[in-house]
Symmetry: C2
């Protein structure tokens, strides 16, 4: 296996996800920082890595992998232990479904480029951006709380006693929430799972403030 290089930004929620997964799989990697605030992800040098101009991207096995959940699915297939998805098909569908609620419905609406565009196009100041963030986050996390609290398959983590893909997405989102005034008390089950994740080094060390480019 060739060396692994992660293209990342400390605060990027999708970068957090991949950092957790790499650590969960016990994989060492080098960290290449791109400062989104300084628009470094739109530089020619980064576009030559990922033409889409978004982080993260992961270089490994002679490949350039993009999109955080597909990257994690690759890591899962390449290094099955410890697993980030359950072995049974219904469990896999449940975990992927929970992860997609965050990956496909919360984060895409609330990342930096969308908030910036709201400001540019609708003169949305920081307060209005925060209102937008909270609206879409609650629209999904409120039912997510109900679904997790109401399922016998929920355990210490989103699915039983083993942290996995859904926990990874939830963890990254809950970190983001704090910056926009959303406290975890609103969602007792999500908050409990988030705190359980924080006790695991692979999660704690993937947090933004632990990264070399943190400011």
């Amino acid at each position: 296996m060739t060396a692994i290089r992660l293209h990342s930004y400390f605060r990027s929620s999708t970068s957090v996800r991949v950092r957790v997964a790499l650590r969960m799989k016990g994989l060492d990697y080098s960290y290449v920082a791109w400062n989104l605030r300084r628009r470094e992800h739109l530089s020619d040098s980064y576009l030559s890595v990922n033409p889409q101009g978004v982080v993260p991207a992961l270089e490994m096995d002679g490949l350039i992998l993009t999109q955080s959940v597909p990257i994690i699915e690759y890591l899962e297939e390449r290094f099955p232990d410890p697993p980030l998805l359950p072995a049974d098909l219904p469990g896999r569908a449940r975990v992927r479904g929970l992860a997609a609620m965050i990956a496909c419905e919360v984060h895409p609406l609330n990342n930096l480029r969308v908030l910036t565009y709201l400001n540019d196009r609708f003169a949305a100041d920081e307060a209005v951006q925060a209102e937008w963030f909270r609206h879409w986050t609650c629209a999904t996390l409120d039912p997510l709380e109900k679904m997790l609290a109401g399922s016998s398959r929920t355990g210490t983590f989103c699915h039983g006693e083993t942290p996995g893909l859904a926990d990874i997405c939830l963890f990254a989102q809950m970190l983001n929430n704090r910056r926009f005034g959303l406290e975890e008390e609103r969602w007792p089950t999500l908050g409990r799972i988030h705190r359980a994740c924080l006790e695991i080094p692979a999660f704690a060390l993937a947090a933004p403030e632990q990264q070399p480019d943190a400011v």
Copy 2:
């Protein structure tokens, strides 16, 4: 196997994806329509199916599956033939990555509930909504065109000669684009792949106008 019931809305792009996948796998299903314009997806009867209040949801095998890409991953694992993902790991990562560009970065910003909220919150009329739609669609489909046109792994379809998960997401998106004045000439490769998909009955029959609730 118990009967399969698809909860759907004819125009929903994520519902299109699941309809294509079911047909690709040769699975019969009954169609349960929920009219998003009439807010039927927020009714108690639908929330008892999917507490998140979004379509599609798929009832099968005694489960209620939600989130279109995880539903398709379930169908893929449950009925491996014909495959919707390549067999090799790099190929699987590529197809999932291409699919996620649409599923995680185009569609979430451009669905009906977001456009409605833009109108409610920022008084964005139809023209402004269409501008928003085009902005986010082009932000991802422009680099997607480059990535597909520049890869030797692109064939008649997004990945070689077999239609799969990436084509399913692309097909549904391209149908949506027309409603907002985005013609496929902008993206020659995407347009070519879209037309190749349209020649396959599983795709053509999944289009909005073919559904029982089409108006």
